[in-house]
Symmetry: none
Subunit: 251 residues, 2 copies
DNA sequence: CCGGGATTGCCCATTTCTGGGCATAGCGGC
DNA sequence: GCCGCTATGCCCAGAAATGGGCAATCCCGG
């Protein structure tokens, strides 16, 4: 089988993983082939059906992993915070380009270094309303980051996160209660903060009709209140965050 | 200057753009070199409050651009909605893997095809609380998507979005109102569909106090209603989706 | 020590939402 | 043609949310 290049090959292997162990093996191989020593993939599904809504696959030193989990450092991890501020992969050495580093942050990074984790490269991905995750590749404290492989790592990381998403939850869309166009409009304007009366004016129909559309929409999702109706519509992709925020101009 | 490969070269050109015109030129060249006919980069930044909080760079046919802008189709564009559901780039032909397509959606895609836009590949990127954007590459209606270039397009699109982010929002985005812990709890339970009274019981405080917390939280975000308060908190990451979604799912 | 914020509690009046029921009209499929 | 779905309109009663004011306690930082 001829591969376009290393990236293609690694991406293919990773996307073919349908068990966590296979993802581990594929990532382990990928990290090695790209010139990294360590890798760590963390994926949190917020809104998935099922129990385990998160995944952690890594070959970090036990010492560090124990500390990280034991002290629940994910909440303060500067790398993770930076990942929420970046649209692309980034080197850890540049983390202060994204967030301010507190003394505690530097201390945390130092402990990581002492535990055998040097510099690294993290690929973050976010799905507002559904999931967030990151895939990191790192080298030992005195190792050298393979700069020429960062683009490959970006792709490999993204593919790994997509694979994790597949593994952890129904990656493909689940067809559920769909709203009619009119119902969707009413929900959208409601999410934009309009009352039923205002929405009625905007849509040019009676307020009572708007109330009715929202009522039926709530019944579709089996939720009792407007808040959850809007959230459900967001989860389903029936409306989007940008639909709402474009209307909200904070002053 | 020796480039590792085409991706490196195109990414370098794009990231070097420091004006919108340069970004246009670089993207135009990149699309061409990768075998695409069209490109469109849309970037929206939140929280700035200002006017120039979005960017649109494209070489789509005027006919389509006029329709899109004139009818404000961005609110319903299925490709954009799918972008909010994907962690990686996706082909338009697979858009129904991400979101349900309504009749109106299919009609919109048909009109786009009639306007000279065939299949395409969209790279979405999201920064919860800060920005969202997409970079699409497309071919003419009877053109062929260069499948072997999708990984390159993924990188190029990501780099272009990062460049757009640099251009549009020179760093400092305004940190909006942070909620206090108690306010956050009230918002969270509210998002879970609880009334103020129920939340009061859960938190072990008076209903009136819950009402007060929610009231102050609304004032922090300058929103008049609960729906938008919850959306603001969600987009800011003040509350998480898992906290909300897992609550009503069991029902 | 004092000011400011956070948290808690209560009152009021008004608006909005929610869940029922009822009815007409159009559209598309069987 | 009949049935189901959608969209439209209206009424009502009760529950909930909203905006306003008032006041106590606690803690933190200047």
């Amino acid at each position: 089988m001829k591969h376009f290049n290393l990236t293609e090959e690694l991406a293919h292997d990773i996307s073919g993983a349908d068990k966590e162990e296979q993802l581990f093996a594929a990532l382990s191989n990928a990290a090695d082939r790209m010139g990294f020593d360590l890798f760590a993939l963390a994926f949190d599904r917020r809104g998935g059906g099922g129990e385990g809504a998160s995944m952690l696959v890594h070959n970090y030193p036990d010492a560090w992993a124990n500390v990280y989990v034991g002290f629940d450092l994910s909440g303060t991890d500067p790398i993770r915070r930076a990942g929420e501020k970046s649209m692309t992969g980034f080197q850890w050495r540049n983390v202060d380009h994204y967030i301010p580093l507190s003394r505690g942050d530097r201390q945390l990074l130092k402990v990581a270094r002492d535990s055998g984790i040097g510099d690294g490269f993290t690929v973050p991905r976010h799905l507002p309303g559904e999931a967030t995750g990151s895939c990191s590749f790192a080298v030992a404290p005195n190792g050298r980051i393979p700069l020429e492989m960062l683009h490959a790592a970006e792709i490999v990381g993204a593919v790994a996160l997509a694979a994790a998403r597949q593994l952890i939850g129904t990656g493909s869309y689940i067809r559920r209660a769909a709203l009619t166009e009119r119902q969707r409009e009413c929900v959208l304007w409601s999410a934009r903060g309009k009352t039923a009366g205002e929405t009625a004016g905007i849509l040019g129909i009676s307020e009572e009709t708007v109330v009715r559309h929202l009522k039926i929409a709530r019944e579709r999702y089996s939720v009792p209140c407007r808040q959850m109706l809007i959230l459900c519509a967001l989860f389903d992709g029936v409306i989007g965050f940008s639909d709402v925020y474009d209307w909200w101009r904070p002053l």
